[in-house]
């Protein structure tokens, strides 16, 4: 559901996320896109790289714009068209979180996909609240790399008790596609967080995108799981390898300033998060 010739960076994880999710949704879909890498990938006048109707909207409004289209389509009797909000981590966890929380509280019948490249990449790699601890960005330069953990948007969405939430990754396309297909069948607010490595911002060689995406999940740093109705947790993979964490960090230039103790602390954080997830999944 995308045309070649789009202007994503070589090796772009976000473009892969778009390719997989749009494919899973099919042509009876409308998408709203705020300013983001995705907006740039979608194209500039007079050309679009997307095969579905697209509305470019302002930064904060991904969720409410999807809700607005949904309401209009419902009133006009066009209930078979899916409405997708497609935003990056900045547009979701920061500036767009108010509208997203409101849509979730109303349980508006939209699919909200957040492709997470862990910073404001389109504007030049500035930090977002999704930037992990220890990462370099242009607004968290060494030695003032990000000193707070990644905001847990899944936990926030779970608190809204929406019918379906999932984490997914471009490193595991069949899993991502399955989750999108599952979300399609659910009425209410659906939220999918897609791990989308960025060679430009994470400072790695472009061919490593899939490898790094897989590593993140293997190292336990990006677990794959689903949450139904805010309290039923299903882990798609159990177990994680602490050794993979070191490789994961070492492959990315943005983590160049991490010291041994930072990596140890990261392992502790991952272990703690997994404890919590395992308890919830019982």
């Amino acid at each position: 559901m995308m045309y070649s010739g789009h202007t994503a960076c070589p090796g772009c994880g976000a473009a892969l996320a778009m390719r997989y999710v749009f494919k899973a949704l099919g042509p009876d879909t409308m998408v709203v896109i705020p300013p983001s890498c995705a907006g740039t990938i979608a194209g500039a006048f007079p050309s679009s790289s997307l095969k579905i109707p697209t509305l470019r909207i302002s930064f904060e409004t991904a969720a409410i714009s999807a809700s607005g289209i949904r309401a209009a389509l419902d009133v006009m009797g066009k209930k078979d068209i899916q409405v997708l909000a497609w935003a990056g981590d900045g547009g979701t966890l920061d500036i767009g979180i108010q509208a997203l929380s409101a849509a979730a509280e109303r349980n508006d019948n939209i699919l909200y996909v957040c492709y997470d490249n862990e910073a404001y990449m389109n504007t030049g790699i500035q930090r977002s609240s999704a930037t992990p601890e220890g990462a370099w960005t242009t607004t968290t330069p060494v030695p003032f790399t990000k000193d707070t953990p990644k905001k847990d948007i899944v936990r926030i969405m779970a608190a809204h008790k929406i019918p379906y939430i999932a984490t997914a990754s471009v490193g595991f396309p069949p899993d991502l596609i399955k989750k999108v297909q599952k979300a399609k069948e659910v009425v209410g607010t659906k939220f999918i967080l897609v791990f989308s490595p960025c060679p430009t911002g994470w400072r790695y060689s472009s061919e490593m995108t899939i490898h790094i995406a897989k590593l993140a999940t293997e190292a336990g740093i990006f677990p794959l799981y689903e949450v139904e109705n805010g309290d039923k947790y299903r882990l798609n993979r159990r177990g994680w390898k602490a050794e993979s964490l070191k490789e994961y960090f070492s492959l990315q230039g943005r983590y160049r300033s991490l010291k041994e103790q930072d990596i140890d602390r990261a392992k502790e954080r991952v272990a703690k998060e997994w404890d919590y997830l395992l308890r919830l999944a019982e």
């Binding site: 070649s4 010739g5 789009h6 194209g43 006048f45 050309s47 679009s48 790289s49």
Partner: protein, 94 residues
């Protein structure tokens, strides 16, 4: 498009920024400094390269997967992920 839009004259433009063409005219193959080469002898047609390409620049020609020269940006994901090691990257001469 029901109405025929254009970009030469003011009156040909739509009333606001509404696209009427696709990105296919943009030959992103011009970007690359390295190009992938698929060895059909080693390829077992698993399709992972096709699946992992962010630019849909791997297509099929009869029994074989081929690189779409027009769009391939040379990111190298296909070469990295091929389980058979059937894809190598060479310097783009052009």
């Amino acid at each position: 498009m029901k109405k025929k839009y254009g970009m030469k004259k003011l009156e040909d433009l739509p009333l606001t920024s509404i696209t009427f063409l696709t990105s296919e005219a943009n030959e992103t193959g011009e970007w690359r400094s390295q190009r992938p080469v698929i060895d059909p002898g080693k390829c077992n047609l698993c399709g992972l390269c096709w699946m992992y390409c962010p630019d849909m620049a791997i297509g099929a020609e009869g029994e074989f997967f081929t690189i779409v020269d027009k769009y391939c940006k040379g990111c190298g994901i296909c070469a990295q992920e091929c389980p058979q090691g059937a894809i190598s990257l060479i310097v783009e001469e052009r």
